[in-house]
């Protein structure tokens, strides 16, 4: 993890805050565990109180007090507007096009925002067996847009995925449209270094903003392909005091709640 040295926040905090800012108020958001869940809840607790958070365990309008460790913690059902079955959440909500934003992480991403969470190495004789698809392929297929959040490195940002688990912009251009999906694919990739967005024509991920202190060279170094950079490269607004306080409070509450003894 790169530290935002001397800047009073970490690179992960910058990434989480940047992701949370993209969530508009009232957005229906399909949330994964980890940074996505942090970012979505940060948004809910700051500028987007009307966000509707959906977890794939079937909770709609979840309002967790502390961050869940798993996708189905009791915390999520406790204050949810509704709790439905897993088939319903995937069929009646995600596939039905009711989700505005799907939030995904990945082990690997390619230049068109396709994602791998299945395997590194060959499928038959894997170097690393990853958890697999989970809800990701259909989130990538059916959410109106997808936010991808992951740390930028050559191991993660690769020229060619070992396995395509979830489709982003496929082969680029309008190739995604030929697949018959109703969702729009990734609209943004937020990393610890900056923000990438697909080019409107080619759909290739393009660096559009750097977080304070990051450089284009760093970003190029951390990307396994020849990274395109926008002409008008922006700089991310650093985390505000309020954002940081709410995020850290949330993480402290979560850590405190987890300090229960085993057994």
């Amino acid at each position: 993890m790169t530290e935002g040295e001397g800047r009073g926040y970490t690179a992960d905090e910058m990434m989480t805050v940047a992701a949370s800012r993209r969530l508009g108020d009232g957005t229906v958001c399909f949330v994964g565990i980890g940074i996505p869940s942090q970012a979505a809840n940060l948004a809910r607790l700051t500028h987007a109180p009307g966000c509707v958070l959906i977890y794939e365990s079937g909770t709609i309008g979840a309002k967790p007090e502390v961050l869940p460790l798993s996708i189905g913690d009791g915390e999520l059902a406790e204050h949810a507007d509704s709790v439905v079955s897993v088939p319903e959440i995937f069929n009646y909500w995600l596939q039905a096009g009711r989700v505005d934003v799907g939030f995904l992480g990945a082990a690997q991403i390619d230049r068109f925002g396709n994602l791998n969470t299945t395997v590194v190495g060959s499928y038959e004789e894997p170097k690393v067996r990853l958890p697999g698809a989970g809800g990701a392929p259909e989130i990538a297929a059916s959410a109106k847009e997808v936010f991808v959040v992951l740390r930028q490195s050559r191991r993660a940002f690769v020229e060619k995925l070992a396995f395509v688990t979830s489709v982003g912009h496929a082969e680029g251009g309008d190739s995604r449209e030929g697949l018959g999906y109703t969702g729009g694919g990734p609209s943004v990739v937020i990393t610890d270094l900056g923000i990438l967005e697909p080019d409107p024509e080619t759909r290739e991920l393009t660096l559009v903003a750097l977080h304070p202190g990051s450089t284009v060279e760093e970003a190029r170094e951390a990307t396994g392909w020849d990274l395109k950079v926008a002409e008008n490269l922006g700089t991310t607004e650093p985390p505000g005091e309020g954002e940081l306080r709410v995020l850290r409070d949330l993480k402290e509450r979560t850590a405190a709640a987890r300090k229960e003894k085993v057994g």
Binding site: L69, V83, V86, T118, P131, G132, G134, E138, E260, G263
Partner: protein, 285 residues
């Protein structure tokens, strides 16, 4: 109609070597007690079906109970890898593990088709991914009205489904509430159904997101308090996130894992002894 019986008898009578077995529970109400009983009885050559294998299948796979795993997400939620699952897939230890992997939506719809006595389900998914290259149970299907092409997946109809619930009444009706995940469909898709419950009660109270699985759809109901530990039972006990975190170093090491399973699963009579045993040792030691 469900028989209210002991877990040992239920597993002995309803689970056979070579069976396809689905233990379900989406983070909530994972039937750990039943999994341990299956391991203790030395059941072999099982095809294990489960959306999220979780620690429960990490333990069963590590003990060599499974020849095949049908799943959609195999991790330790919020913590990291399932090391026994990875060891079986990456290095064939203790046995090679055949895998058939789908997405969550695919698995959920496969259970729905199974519960509906249909041979297949239809969804929007898989197209453009590498999953169809490695998973033969994915086929295109055209809409007979619009011509649109979609994806078909075959029904799941396990020999046995095992779920955990909060309560049963004395007739064997089963009540679950909170996150109910895929449990109803898993149970209704199976030929035989075992349900472990926190307690058997005279009458159910009201719970808005509650579902009742009628007695006639269940074969055995077994009272096993805390039978979902270290997962949770809404209204009874919370998820032991600490256990999930402490499992990582245990599951990571073959010897530690075997030792732990021998002490706390094979070496005990039942799940209440298991709980005493891990508590005695303290902090998952």
């Amino acid at each position: 109609m469900a028989e209210i019986t002991g877990l040992r008898e239920a597993v002995a009578g309803l689970v056979g070597d070579g069976d396809t077995v689905a233990l379900e529970g989406f983070t909530h109400l994972i039937p750990f007690a039943a999994a341990h009983e299956i391991v203790r009885q030395g059941k072999r050559d099982l095809t294990l079906v489960r959306m999220t294998p979780d620690l429960v299948y990490d333990q069963m796979i590590g003990m060599g109970a499974a020849k095949k795993l049908v799943f959609s997400w195999g991790g330790n939620p919020g913590v990291g890898s399932l090391h026994r699952f990875r060891d079986a897939v990456e290095r064939g230890w203790p046995l090679p593990l055949e895998i058939e992997e789908h997405s969550h939506a695919g698995m959920a719809n496969r259970y729905v088709a199974g519960a509906s006595n249909l041979p297949f389900a239809v969804l929007r998914g898989y197209v453009g991914t590498d999953l169809p290259k490695v998973t033969p149970t994915i086929e295109p299907i055209a809409c007979p009205f619009t011509g649109e092409e979609l994806t078909a997946v075959p029904a799941l109809n396990p020999d046995v489904a095992v779920i955990h619930a909060q309560q049963a009444d004395r007739k064997g009706n089963v009540l679950l509430w909170g996150i109910t995940g895929i449990q109803k469909e898993a149970a209704l898709s199976a030929k035989r159904v075992i349900v472990t419950v926190e307690e058997v009660v005279d009458a159910f109270e009201e719970h808005t997101f509650g579902i009742v699985l009628p007695s006639v759809a269940v074969d055995a109901v077994c009272a096993v308090p805390q039978g979902a530990y270290p997962s949770y039972a809404h209204g009874y006990y919370a998820r032991s996130n600490a256990f999930y975190e402490a499992w990582d170093p245990i599951g990571r090491d073959r010897e530690k894992f075997r030792g732990w399973m021998e002490r706390h699963v094979l070496g005990v009579e039942d799940f209440s002894e298991h709980l005493r045993s891990i508590r005695q040792e303290g902090a998952m030691g």
